[in-house]
Each structure stands twice: as structure tokens, then as C-alpha cells.
Point group: C2
Chain length 374, copies 2
């Protein structure tokens, strides 16, 4: 069964437009995926996500396993039902969270022992267990269990870790095949690791593609490395990924990074920027970034972005949103989160259009002429 269809390729770059087929609807690619770690995209409701055209968001194995726990979600009939979301869900495997969040994490060949960041209780994740959890969640796209390295990372450690991630990926794939019918609509993606070492990344790609996955992600980026290094890895490694499968760069999503990713043939990306920075007062606009907490907006009765047709820009002014932030009002967090998500969704939509119409290069130029203004 076809799970990914490429509909159009850019004539000037590696960009492409396609569709991922899931049991919860089709997802047009390239796709920006909002982050709903705990089963909710922070400050935003599911109906708002639907309204702005979100077809897929990313939730998290580690977080949901820890809280509310698998029984609660299994008894609800899976994550879609628990959170009332009738479109697609991708779940990260928890590898990144063990690295960044767990109080204690001891990795061996078998898996990872860790203590919950909530109550300190001890748990053990294996590749099989992580797929099993994602089975219970009912994720449309599951991620293999991986070890995410920090930046900087020694070559030795990066190599060992990449090989461990590969062995885990093979076990994930095996367990996935053992627990799903051949014609399952669910998908499992492998995660390329190797830190900043291009040769390790290349080996990782080779090994993972030999096993074969429904899609491939670059993990271990956006962990503090300089932007040039991230860009180099994307530019060098993404083209090595199988062309006929979705390609996903994890944790990436500034407007600049989105253009870079898509130009290099990436189909999927996720990032907390629109919601996290939104809660901190930052608005993404076609002219650049604004900080709505700044006094300069006190008397500015124009919308966040005069070119933006979103509900927030139609209904509210910078002066009002500035007032809401200054007054500590929750509505401020909602409005900027919603606008920022809309902005990125709409940006990716317009990039898709430019690929279809053969205008990717000129549209990119136009975007940055304007985006640099602020």
C-alpha cells in the first residue's frame, strides 16, 4: 500500500510536494508539525488547529507514558480518542526526552533505564517497549527509539551512539513487523544520528536504508550546534535519504530553517518556536519577528501582520495584545501561539504552491527581501 506519494518536484532545487497517507487522513507535504508534547499544542485548542489547517502534529512517547500513563490512554481507545483529534499524529520515541529531561538515564545495549522527571520512579525503555507504547497510543507515524547525543559530542561517543541507535532501529522495525499486519496503515520512521560527523551520518543513512523504513528523520539537530553546522548536515545528508520516502528533520522550524529544509528535499519538520516563543511575546510576521512586550507597540493599532488573514490579525491589534501581555492575561499566550502557528502553516502552504508553480527560487528571494525588514 502506498504511504507516500510525490506529486511534484521543483525544477531548480531538491524541493518536492507530496502526500503522506494515514488512517486519519492525508497529510500534504512539506508539512510543518506543531508540537503537542502532552497531547495538547500549548495554549491552542484542537478546533483551532483544525481551523488553521493542521493535518498532523507531533506528540511524545516519553511524556504520555509518564503522564497520564498508558492505561488511561488505552482505556480511552488510543491517543486520537483521548485528546479528540481526528487527524494524523506522529509520536517521537522518547530518546530526545531521556537525553534532555529524565532525572537519570543509564543506557546499555538492551535499552535505557531512567527516572521519571515527575515523580522519580524508575522505568526501563527498550526499542520493543517504545514501539509497543506507540502501538497503544495508535500513532499514525512512530519513531524508532534512538539515543540523542549532546553538542559537542566526541567522535568516539557519537560513533558508538549512532551504532546503538542503529541496533535499536533494527529491533524497532522487527517488533513493528511482528505486531502489525502487512497492510497496516501505520508507519515507522528510522532516525539518522551521528552528531556533527558527516561520515557517521552517512554510515547511519546507509545502515538504516538497508533495513528499510517508511520514512527517515535526522535527529540530534537543534541541540546547540552552530547554524552553519546544522545547515551543512541538512544539505549533505538529506539528499542521501531514499527519494521515494518522507524525510523529516526533527526539532527544526524557524522560517529560515524551513526554507533551507524544503530546498534540500525535506518533507517534514516540527518545532516549538511558534508556541514557546509566542508565549514569550514573540510574533512571527512576514517582515520578521516582533516582541509584543515592547513598549513600542503600546499605541500601535495595526494587526501583528498586515498581510496575514488569520483570526488574530483580523480581530486584534498590537496595542491590545501588548496590553494583554503587560497585564499577564492568558489570552495573550493564546493569540500569539495561534498566529505563529498560522504563520508557519501558511508559509509552508505558500512554499508548496511555489514548488507546484515552478517559482520556488523567486518566492524564496521575495520572502527574505521582506522578512529582513524588521
Amino acid at each position: 500500500m502506498e504511504k507516500f506519494i510525490i506529486e511534484k518536484k521543483c525544477r531548480d532545487t531538491k524541493a518536492r510536494v507530496g502526500r503522506i497517507i494515514t488512517a486519519y487522513g492525508e497529510v500534504e507535504t512539506p508539512v510543518f508539525m506543531p508540537v503537542g508534547t502532552q497531547g495538547t499544542v500549548k495554549a491552542v485548542s484542537n478546533s483551532e488547529l483544525r481551523d488553521i489547517g493542521v493535518q498532523l502534529f507531533i506528540s511524545n512517547t516519553y511524556h504520555l507514558y509518564i503522564r497520564p500513563g498508558m492505561d488511561v490512554i488505552k482505556n480511552a481507545g488510543g491517543l486520537h480518542k483521548f485528546i479528540n483529534w481526528d487527524r494524523a499524529i506522529i509520536t517521537d520515541s522518547g530518546g530526545f526526552q531521556l537525553h534532555s529531561l529524565a532525572k537519570y538515564c543509564k543506557v546499555n545495549n538492551e535499552g535505557a533505564e531512567f527516572k521519571s522527571h515527575i515523580d522519580g520512579s524508575t522505568h526501563f525503555f527498550t526499542p520493543e517497549k517504545v514501539i509497543e507504547i506507540q502501538n497503544h497510543l495508535g500513532s499514525d507515524i512512530m519513531m524508532c527509539f534512538d539515543e540523542c547525543t549532546s553538542y559537542p559530542c566526541s567522535r568516539d561517543y557519537a560513533e558508538q551512539s549512532m551504532e546503538l541507535t542503529f541496533r535499536w532501529a533494527k529491533r524497532c522495525k522487527k517488533f513493528f513487523l511482528d505486531t502489525h499486519p502487512v497492510d497496516t496503515e501505520q508507519q515507522v520512521f528510522g532516525i539518522v544520528q551521528g552528531s556533527t560527523y558527516l561520515d557517521l551520518r552517512r554510515t547511519s543513512v546507509q545502515e538504516l536504508t538497508d533495513v528499510g523504513f517508511d520514512g527517515y528523520a535526522l535527529g540530534g539537530l537543534s541541540v546547540g550546534e552552530p547554524k552553519e553546522i546544522m545547515d551543512e548536515i541538512i544539505t549533505e545528508i538529506v539528499p542521501l535519504l531514499p527519494e521515494e520516502k518522507p524525510r523529516y528533520v526533527m526539532g527544526v522550524g524557524t522560517p529560515e530553517d524551513i526554507w533551507t529544509c524544503i530546498e534540500n528535499g525535506v518533507d517534514m519538520f516540527d518545532c516549538v518556536i511558534p508556541t514557546k516563543n509566542g508565549r514569550n511575546g514573540q510574533a512571527l510576521t512576514s517582515s520578521g519577528k516582533l516582541n509584543l512586550k515592547n513598549a513600542v507597540h503600546k499605541n500601535d493599532y495595526s494587526p501583528l501582520d498586515s498581510e496575514c488573514p488569520c483570526e488574530v490579525c483580523r480581530e486584534y491589534t498590537k496595542a491590545y495584545i501588548h496590553h494583554l501581555f503587560r497585564s499577564g492575561e492568558l489570552l495573550a499566550l493564546r493569540l500569539l501561539s495561534l498566529h505563529n502557528l498560522y504563520f508557519l502553516i501558511q508559509l509552508v502552504g505558500s512554499i508548496k504552491k511555489s514548488i507546484r508553480s515552478g517559482k520556488f527560487v523567486s518566492e524564496k528571494k521575495k520572502f527574505f527581501e521582506n522578512y529582513g525588514k524588521l
Copy 2:
């Protein structure tokens, strides 16, 4: 020009159904008014308020004067435009906030000097200034400047304060007349004070009605006095207010209080309970109150209130909302605030219906048979 029309009186009680006419639409009474102190009903958007049928909410002179300040709102073209709300707005005068919030407040016959709770700056409110501010805000219904007493309050202080509030009310009325055309659609309400002393309350009613206002409010309630005392004041004093004018009990709004108020001929009430208690995890339901933070809801996949047709009850379960609270997710605050507001709006709607159909007494009995269940 008619500003209030009574359409139906209950045959068994003092309850009535009517309409307040404003430049921003008609307001059916009895009406529960959500509290939007700083120009936003906490955690809820204006379009959500519209969707659940809010026709009028209460904002605050003191707060908006302090922040964002009158220039910002004047330049926006008034409060309706500043916050993008095309229905009616009532504004409290600031008397209660000087009493509860200002860092320092010195009252004399002329007015009240106080320091802002935000930056400590010194300001002086007079009755004239408070009406002028409400003029700039463009409030559809303005409240006279009053002194709100604490509970308990000595008889001497209550008497002096009530007389001061009366002198201020006269000055408010005069300034209102001086600054508005005869056929203005705006309204100004007097505030009955007198603490817990029924005779002082009666004198206050007599004095205010001699001056004549578009409506009358009971102030200084819900400030810590026992419920029986509040009920006695409502029962004894409300019927003394002119029948042909709207009657407003300030700061009141539990389901129990709403029934008591309406039964005694009250047309308007406002309360932070639906939003404030909602943010603390409390849901109002037809069976009583629930605390969604309680572990008992962890596996409960039913809606907050199975009889409630609101968006929150249609879309989400107690188990999910419990998870959102436990996880510190902002959506939790939104969902309970919205449901609770809907619950009270819908409750008042059904009470209105019962008055029209002559079934107030039996509907009240039915409500409390169910409401006591939890």
C-alpha cells in the same frame, strides 16, 4: 428613550424578564455578566463569548485607567474598539478596587487619593473624573463612584460612607447629564451601600431613587459577610428599588445566588466564579461542583456534564481535562472557564424561559434536586 423594557413578570415570585437597550445591542435580562476586568474575560476569547451568547460583560474603570491608561484606549476609539467587542459593556467605577487593591487610599469628601497597585504612582479619583473615564471608555452602562465598605463595618462608618457614596452619586449624575445629550443611549447606575444595616440600605435606596438613575445596584456584598446576611439584604432591599429600572447585585453569581437574586427581582449580576474557580480546576455542572484536579477523574471518559451541549462537553472528557490540569497545560484553564461561563449563561437562559412559561418555582425545585447530587 426607553432603556429598559420589562416583558414578563413571574406570577409566583418577583422574578421578571426584560431587555436593556444599548447602542451595542439589546441585553436580555436577567443577565449573568462575565468579568473582563482588564478588557478580557480571563482565558477566554471574545469570539468564544459571542458564541456562548454573552451580550454584556463587565470591565473596570480603575484597572483600565491604570493600565493601559486612557490615552491608549481613547486613541483606539474607545474600549469596544480597543478590545474588538461589538456588544455591550458595563464598567464598574473603581470604588471596589480602591477598597481591595490600591496600595493606599485616602478618602475625603472631594474624592479618593490612591497609589496604583502596579507602579505606586499617586492618583486622585473624583466622581466627575470616574464618569469622565467611563465616557472615554465608551461604556454602555457606567457605575457611579462609590466607597465600598469591608465586612464587618461599624454602623458609624457604614452610615458616613453610605452618605458619602450618595453625595458622590449626585455629582456623578450631574456630570453625566452635563456631558451627554438628553437622548444619550448610555446609562448611569447608582450604587446602594450601607453595609449590613438594613435601615442604612433603605435610606440609601430612598436617596438614590430621589436623584434618579437608569438602574440601581447593590454594592458592598460578597465582601465576606455570611450568606444569610447577603440573602436578607437582597430579599429586603431589592424590592424597594424602582420596579421599572434594571436592578443589579454586584459580585454575585453562584448558581444558588443567581436563583435567589432572580427570585427577588434582580436583573443583573456578575461574578468571577466561572473563570476564577475554573482556573483552579472547578467545573459547575447540573449535578453540582466538580474538582477536575481530583484523581477520581483520571479514568472518567464522560464529559464534564452529560446534560451540557457546550463545545467543551461535546469535545472533551473529564479524563483529558484532568490530564491537562495535572500536566500544567493552559488548555485546561480555557476549557473550564468556557464551560463554566456557558453553564451560567445557559442556567440564566433556562430561568428566563421558566419565568416566561410560568414555571419558575417548579424549575427551581427541579434544579436543586439535581444540583445537590454531588
